[in-house]
């Protein structure tokens, strides 16, 4: 027997709150209910996929519309979702277990190692499993180049999956949301209004849709954001393979305001991602012309063909839901700096499970969806602490030497515990929760090893830099 509650009636937000406790109506999705998903990126497509899949399993027929004006089959900004394009190791594995296998033309490259560049040295950290389990991909079909690329869009692939499950894509912009007769209505620029039983907001933080909720009397604070910088360089694939290989290159540099920097090879392109406080032209120039970048990548002879400065979510709303409304992915709560697509999957599935099996009232989302968001937010608080510690290590030369020495020695000893390598791998890839990374750093063997290397790092070293 389906576990769903029986709906006793429809109620607008205000009436529901005023309805008292004993006779409070229960909101749930009934057969034939209409569900709107605003935003056709990964979060929206995952939500539609899981909602339709679970609804079918309990014999519930739903009509799901994904509102997305962009076509991900276009190259350049028109089909792009402005993101570095890394699918973490853990997400690749979870997707495969969910039966979602990334096709070859979507996952452009499998990343087999990370190279950490510091002024004191560059260290290659191999994939713990010894195989390629991180995917480098494009959210659209690639940067602005004016010509066709052989790649399929990741967002387009997920959207097709949702369409195959029965979702319908509406290529139109939603200009607002309004309550009429107890139901949310999506408004279009021409004045048309479409009623829905449930609205899932997956529009991310680079659209102003979450800000429009206040106009409809829905009190959900927009997420706090940070601006990033992404640039696509183009060269011939052989040159890129020769200089960067199948590795993602990350940089621990003593540059003020720079939180994280990475170069990701993708066939004939290289994606550069910078995270930091007020990333501006000066900071980009300082990074690109640092000796560590010039050492591994010929910036001067590689043209930049596409740039953007998207926002990322660094703190989500406390209650990313209301009656008949739920916010997922970047619109709601996501992981700090890493694995945003993984967080999109987790929140999308938790929201869809709640909607199908529990109900669509704020109370239902509060009881069954909020724990997933709270777990991510609590882990982000630990992540913030971990990044503060990484900052401290980044700014002192002796601690950078300690990181280089310890990780280099670990990589040169196959079969050893590789504790620092594992911590760095998980910090850079987003493959493990920050809580687990913190736990790994508190292991007595890690603390002893790090202390010993800090002592050695304080002594001057004469060797030149090299990748090991």
């Amino acid at each position: 027997m389906p576990l769903r509650k029986v709906r006793r009636g429809l109620s607008p937000v205000g009436n529901l709150a005023a309805a008292g406790t004993s006779a409070q109506p229960v909101l749930s999705l009934e057969d034939g209910a209409r569900v709107a998903v605003i935003g056709g990126g990964p979060a929206g497509s995952f939500f539609a996929h899981f909602l339709l899949k679970m609804a079918a399993e309990v014999g519930l027929g739903l009509s799901v519309d994904i509102w997305e004006p962009r076509s991900f089959s276009r190259s350049g900004p028109g089909g792009c979702n402005h993101c570095g394009g890394i699918v973490s190791e853990s997400l690749v594995q979870i997707l495969a277990t969910e039966g979602i296998n990334l096709p070859l033309d979507v996952a452009q490259r499998g990343i087999e190692s990370y190279v950490v560049h510091m002024d004191v040295d560059s260290v290659r950290i191999a994939s713990p499993g010894g195989e390629r389990r991180i995917a480098a991909l494009y959210r659209g079909t690639g940067p602005r180049t004016g010509e066709a690329t052989p790649w399929e869009s990741f967002d387009g692939f997920l959207q097709r999956m949702a369409i195959n499950d029965g979702a319908r894509v509406v290529r139109s912009l939603v200009s607002g949301i309004e309550w009429r007769d107890g139901l949310p209505h999506l408004l279009q620029a021409d004045g048309a209004a479409s009623p829905y039983e449930l609205v899932c907001i997956a529009s991310g933080v680079n659209s102003n849709f979450v800000g429009l909720l206040a106009q409809a009397g829905i009190e959900i604070d927009p997420p706090e954001t940070m601006r990033t910088y992404i640039c696509e360089f183009r060269s011939d694939p052989e040159t890129i393979q020769q200089v960067l290989g199948d590795s993602m290159h990350v940089f621990l540099l003593d540059i003020p305001r720079l939180e994280f920097a990475a170069l990701i090879p993708k066939g004939e392109f290289v994606t550069m991602c910078l995270l930091g406080e007020d990333v501006d032209e000066k900071l980009v120039h300082e990074f690109l012309h640092s000796p560590e970048v010039k050492r591994c990548f010929p910036v001067d002879s590689t043209p930049c063909v596409c740039t953007c400065s998207p926002l990322i979510n660094i703190r989500g709303p406390k209650r990313p839901f209301a009656d008949r409304i739920v916010l997922i992915g970047d619109s709601g709560v996501t992981r700090l700096y890493k694995d945003g697509i993984g967080a999109a999957l987790r929140t999308a599935k938790a929201a869809a499970t709640t909607a199908v099996f529990q109900g669509i009232a704020a109370e239902d989302f509060g009881r069954h969806y909020a724990p997933t968001c709270e777990a991510i937010a609590a882990d982000n608080a630990i992540g913030k602490f971990m990044f503060t510690v990484t900052h401290a290590f980044k700014y002192a030369r002796f601690s950078r030497r300690a990181i280089a020495r310890m990780s280099r020695n670990e990589q040169a000893s196959p079969g050893s515990a590789r504790r620092l390598s594992s911590v760095l791998w998980n910090m850079f890839t987003g493959s493990a929760p920050y809580r687990e990374i913190l736990k790994d750093t508190l292991h007595p063997a890690f603390l002893t090893g790090m202390t010993w290397n800090l002592v050695l790092g304080a002594r001057p070293r004469r060797r030149g830099s090299k990748v090991v």
């Binding site: 853990s90 039966g99 990334l102 070859l104 490259r109 499998g110 195989e131 389990r133 987790r346």
Partner: protein, 119 residues
């Protein structure tokens, strides 16, 4: 088979897991096929063929027994390894994920029973 693609590419006949060896992960076939074989009275018997999108080695996630059969590539095959720790962590948060595994286990149980009845 995809140079630089996700997972590991095994050439035809290459052993991915060996009967009797300890295991702490499962695998998903990303491209190609693999065959499951078992030693039976000194002779090798094929138990089945697993194709793209399906997984194997999942028993290692639930018990600490040795691998119950050998799995090797049938033609070139690209296979992705799934860590026990990562998967169990995710199942703890999302028990519905285990349903996918249960469905496969249930189908294999049904298949084994049918094969037994036919024998």
């Amino acid at each position: 088979m995809g140079d630089g693609a996700l997972g590991t590419v095994y050439a035809n006949g290459a052993v991915i897991v060996r009967e009797g060896e300890p295991g702490n992960c499962m695998y998903v076939v990303q491209a190609g096929k693999v065959e499951v074989v078992r030693e039976d009275g000194g002779r090798e018997r094929q138990l089945g063929v697993i194709s793209e999108g399906s997984f194997f080695g999942e028993m290692a996630l639930f018990e600490t027994e040795m691998r119950s059969a050998t799995v090797r590539a049938l033609g070139d095959a690209r296979v992705l390894m799934i860590d026990k720790r990562a998967l169990l962590r995710r199942i703890k948060e999302d028990p519905l994920l285990a349903l996918n595994l249960l469905k496969t286990l249930s189908a294999r149980l049904r298949e084994a029973r049918r094969a037994q009845e036919e024998a």
